[in-house]
């Protein structure tokens, strides 16, 4: 490679386009110069001799003109291995020598995009300024956003929040799937939810059934004689009177009467003659 030849051609041909580039570039003078200089430091491995003049505004202008001018595409090849947009630069800069203006503008645009994407590759130059064009929120991980952006998905804060919410929901669904037996084989959110609902319903019914069973066990335990049976019986004696007073009507009295006879029968069957 021969840097002086490129240098000459850049100064001869492409000065106006470099001014247009500077006007399109959305930074102030020295700030843009430093950013371009840092990017220039990246490029300097390829271009070799440009390392000396790469710190100030002149160096940035030269570097940008080189970007547009390069007829020999082999210098661009190394840069274009980074992403697709700079590959577009190289393909369009291959027929740059025809000096058509629209081509040049296209190069400038793609160059701009290239710088924006490169900002997340280079940690020094990405102090939030270029990322402000693409994503208004700095708190989510940037490379994540840019991967999404390169895939063509939305990057505004609402869709990012929605995406995070959806991922949270699917993670919870996975936890639930692990919790509910036989739910791992089911595919589809609605079916999984159906399985979960059925499982909860079955558990609630089981609790209901078990409470009935415990009640049955309990009543059977009351029949069998024991110390607790006597105490319970002593407690139990008064609510009957209260119920008889409370209801007052004939039907209710019959009801309580029937209940009492049945109760007595049960107690006799259990051997509670003393208390009756």
């Amino acid at each position: 490679m021969d840097p002086p030849l490129v240098n000459e051609s850049s100064f001869s041909a492409a000065n106006p386009s470099s001014y247009s580039l500077a006007s399109i570039w959305p930074f102030g003078g020295d700030q843009g110069g430093s950013v371009l200089g840092l990017r220039m430091a990246n490029l300097a491995q390829n271009l070799g001799g440009f390392r000396e003049c790469s710190t100030n505004r002149d160096g940035s202008m030269e570097e940008s003109t080189v970007t547009e001018q390069s007829g020999g595409g082999r210098k661009r090849k190394d840069v274009s291995s980074e992403d697709e947009s700079s590959r577009m630069v190289s393909t369009s800069s291959a027929n740059q020598l025809s000096n058509s203006n629209d081509k040049r503008m296209k190069v400038v645009e793609s160059r701009d995009e290239n710088g924006g994407i490169k900002a997340e590759v280079d940690p020094n130059s990405s102090d939030g300024k270029k990322l402000a064009e693409q994503s208004p929120k700095p708190e989510p991980p940037k490379d994540y956003i840019h991967v999404r952006a390169r895939r063509g998905q939305a990057t505004d804060s609402h869709s990012l929040a929605e995406r995070a919410r959806r991922e949270k929901i699917s993670e919870r669904m996975k936890i639930l799937q692990d919790l509910v037996p036989g739910c791992n084989k089911v595919i589809g959110k609605a079916l999984v939810l159906d399985e979960i609902i059925n499982y909860i319903q079955s558990l609630q019914r089981q609790v209901e059934f078990l409470s009935m069973k415990l009640e049955a066990v309990n009543s059977r335990m009351n029949i069998t004689p024991g110390i607790e049976g006597f105490t319970v019986k002593n407690i139990v004696n008064q609510p009957y009177d209260a119920a008889g007073i409370l209801y007052g009507s004939q039907a209710a009295r019959d009801y309580t009467q029937g209940a009492q006879t049945e109760w007595l029968h049960m107690q006799i069957g259990g051997g509670f003659e003393r208390t009756s």
Partner: protein
């Protein structure tokens, strides 16, 4: 280990509360109406102990305790019949109605609370099975 610890706590709490429910439920064991009421009392005690073990931080436990304490009568009779549907939003609505206090949650919280609720319910079922088996073996 935390699971077993909470299960033991649940066992203690459930057995004591069930004893209380049993002593208060033995007014009359004969009529079927009172039988139902009695088993409902046991069920309420079981749910209440489960919610207490789960703690006040869980939304479903809070809602369950609130529902048990201020229990509106005959609410289940007023529930409308809905046509069966299989879309996921309807399923989420069904889950909302199933989970205590689920009407006011967003979907993320709903799923998280559902996971915890399932955990506690299954532990509760195990504990109640153990209690009934224990008593049955004592009776027989």
């Amino acid at each position: 280990m935390a699971n077993s610890k909470s299960a033991i706590t649940l066992l203690n709490s459930t057995s004591s509360r069930l004893c209380f429910a049993r002593t208060s439920a033995t007014f009359a064991s004969a009529p079927p109406d009172q039988l139902k009421r009695q088993s409902r009392r046991i069920k309420m005690a079981a749910y209440s102990s489960m919610a207490r073990v789960a703690g006040r931080r869980r939304a479903w436990a809070r809602a369950l305790l609130f529902r048990l304490h201020t229990r509106p009568r005959h609410k289940t009779l007023m529930r409308r019949k809905r046509r069966p549907s299989t879309s996921s939003d309807d399923m989420v609505g069904k889950l909302r109605r199933l989970l205590p206090g689920g009407e006011t949650m967003d979907v993320c919280t709903l799923l998280e609370e559902t996971a915890n609720y399932i955990h506690c319910l299954s532990t509760q079922v195990k504990v109640m099975k153990a209690i009934s088996n224990h008593h049955l073996s004592k009776v027989n």
